[in-house]
Amino acid sequence: MLNVDVNKLAELINKNVPGANATVSVPEDIKKCDSSVTVEASKIYSVVEFLKTNKEMPFNSLQVISGVDWVEWMEVCYMMAHFDLQNPREFILKVKLTDRVNPSVDSIVHHYAAANFQEREVYDMFGIRFNNHPDHRRILCPDDWQGYPLRKDYVAQKDYNGMAVYPDSKMNFEDREFIVRQDMIKKAQEAKAQ
């Protein structure tokens, strides 16, 4: 986070975008972690439009869109940046999606062309749909891949077009044995302590 007063920014958003309901989340240790602004998922299109076009605190570039799966809810983080030699800015904008089965949020490709590939990646990895996206396909995984890999409950498919995924012959059994051994040592130590 760079040169952004999140409280002021949240106020600005609330004043100019009705219903955005911007809230600031500040970490316990402000030196170590970044704070962020969370807005209503349904208002993201107008919030981003406001951030891009306002005079007071504009952001001319979208760096990256990142998703986080918190199991109870999904989060989409937009890293906004302003490239300016005197006044560089950067902050994290978030939306919360409570629907895990069919999560969807409005696309912002209209405002930032960078969002095209970034939103496709979030869809590929988390299964979050972006409404009105011009080219809504998977990007890194094959088009016919099942499941969304970065979800916490993801289980890889066994078979892909007749090919075995994670065949036993290619698994590293030493790793597995190592973990089992570590568990045994831990249990033995606990028993000893008791």
Partner: protein, 391 residues
């Protein structure tokens, strides 16, 4: 009796306006996945109208290893070798960005010597990466010799890295809290000698390639990104600077000890061609090599004996929260979004913002209207590494 030659009145030719016109469909061509000009396994589907590209669609994912998922199952130290494998030509910069994100959340102090050595290795790596970009770009455009010149100098850097880290390409050298090994005085003397020869070599490269008539004709005024495009697509690094924006994180939002150093930020100044074209992007890299040499020389002056590793807890556990850290890497700004759930040995989420991914998304923007050969020059000029695009 009807003669067998008599076939009646000849049929009048009728022109069916729907079918008789010239075929005007676009031809679909696949550039890659195994194509020498794509620097790895990138497939670009090109729709061509004879020699002219009408539309280009990049297809990514051939090198996808889902490194972000792997990171969720490793402890914080264990992620470093995986981060190496993102941009394998600039592994030191990748490591440093990730490590800096962890250090910020941990609140670790890095000793001054460790921090200076990090700057030196990062700048050496930047030179090595730009040399690779220079060599392969000339190779794309049909000149083989510069590649060999570039590798001769790059080899010296790799030798030094091999001595201090044990590996030539994927180092695992920058650790949380400092660096693994100290450099000896003899190695530092060799760095100093390398700076002298590299400065001379850079002049030679400029005479040999940058100002070469054929090279200039292939690259100048080709594949122009306007500044507005760069902001719109989120371009960073040499692509943004080639388009005339004097933006460098090391200067505009200094991290580590960069604020102590005296160096310039090279931008595309249209010595040849126009701002934002392939030649200017390329030439920004050549100018950056000189600036990196300046920084390394200052590091060598500032280095004083001391420890290179700070105090780090044996088991690293980060507080609950998140951090977005970005560093200036040879290909642009690498961003690490690290999320910790608190009281856990593993990252909850690690997202890598890859500059090459962003720049690949810009290819459809410049492709329409270009000749295929010019498109090859454009792909080479953004200097993509597919390990970083696909992660």
């Amino acid at each position: 009796m009807q003669s067998r030659w008599d076939i009646g009145e000849p049929e009048k030719p009728t022109i069916n306006k729907d079918t008789e016109q010239l075929k005007s469909e676009l031809l679909t061509l696949n550039m890659g996945p195994q194509h020498p000009a794509t620097h790895g396994v990138l497939r670009i589907e090109i729709w061509t109208d004879s020699e002219v590209v009408a539309h280009a669609i990049p297809h990514l994912g051939y090198l996808h290893r889902c490194m972000e998922k792997h990171a969720e199952n490793l402890d914080y130290r264990g992620v470093i070798p995986f981060v190496d494998r993102l941009d394998y030509l600039a592994a030191m910069n990748m490591e440093w960005t990730y490590v800096a994100a962890v250090e910020k959340m941990l609140g670790t102090e890095v000793p001054r010597r460790g921090e200076l050595i990090r700057i030196m290795t990062a700048e050496l790596q930047r030179i090595a990466s730009h040399l690779m970009a220079f060599g392969t770009y000339a190779l794309d455009l049909g000149a083989f010799t510069p590649f060999l010149y570039a590798f001769e100098e790059r080899e010296k850097i790799l030798r030094l890295f091999e001595e201090v880290s044990g590996a030539r390409l994927l180092y695992n050298y920058i650790w949380i809290g400092g660096v693994w090994n100290d450099w000896t005085d003899e190695q530092l003397a060799r760095v100093s000698a390398f700076c002298d020869t590299m400065e001379e070599e850079a002049k030679k490269y400029n005479e040999l390639v940058s100002m070469n008539k054929i090279f200039v004709q292939r690259t100048a005024n080709v594949g122009i990104f306007s500044l507005q495009d760069c902001f719109d697509y989120g371009a960073t690094g040499p692509v943004l600077r080639g388009s005339g924006m004097k933006w460098d994180l090391r200067k505009n939002a200094p991290y580590s000890l960069y604020s102590e150093f005296d160096f310039d930020v090279p931008v595309g100044e249209a010595e040849l061609g126009q701002v934002g074209d392939c030649w200017n992007r390329y030439y920004v890299r050549m100018k950056e090599v000189i600036q990196s040499i300046r920084i390394i020389r200052q590091v060598l002056e500032k280095l004083e004996p001391g420890s290179v590793m700070g105090k780090v807890p044996k088991v690293i556990k980060l507080p609950k929260g998140e951090v977005y850290m970005r560093h200036e890497c040879p290909r642009g700004e690498l961003g690490i979004h690290l999320v910790s759930e608190g009281d856990s040995k593993q990252p909850y989420r690690l997202k890598v913002k890859s500059p090459c991914f962003t720049h690949t998304s810009m290819l459809p923007r410049i492709a329409p209207g270009q000749m295929i050969a010019d498109f090859v020059a454009s792909v080479g000029s953004i200097d993509i590494v597919l390990g970083e695009v696909d992660r």
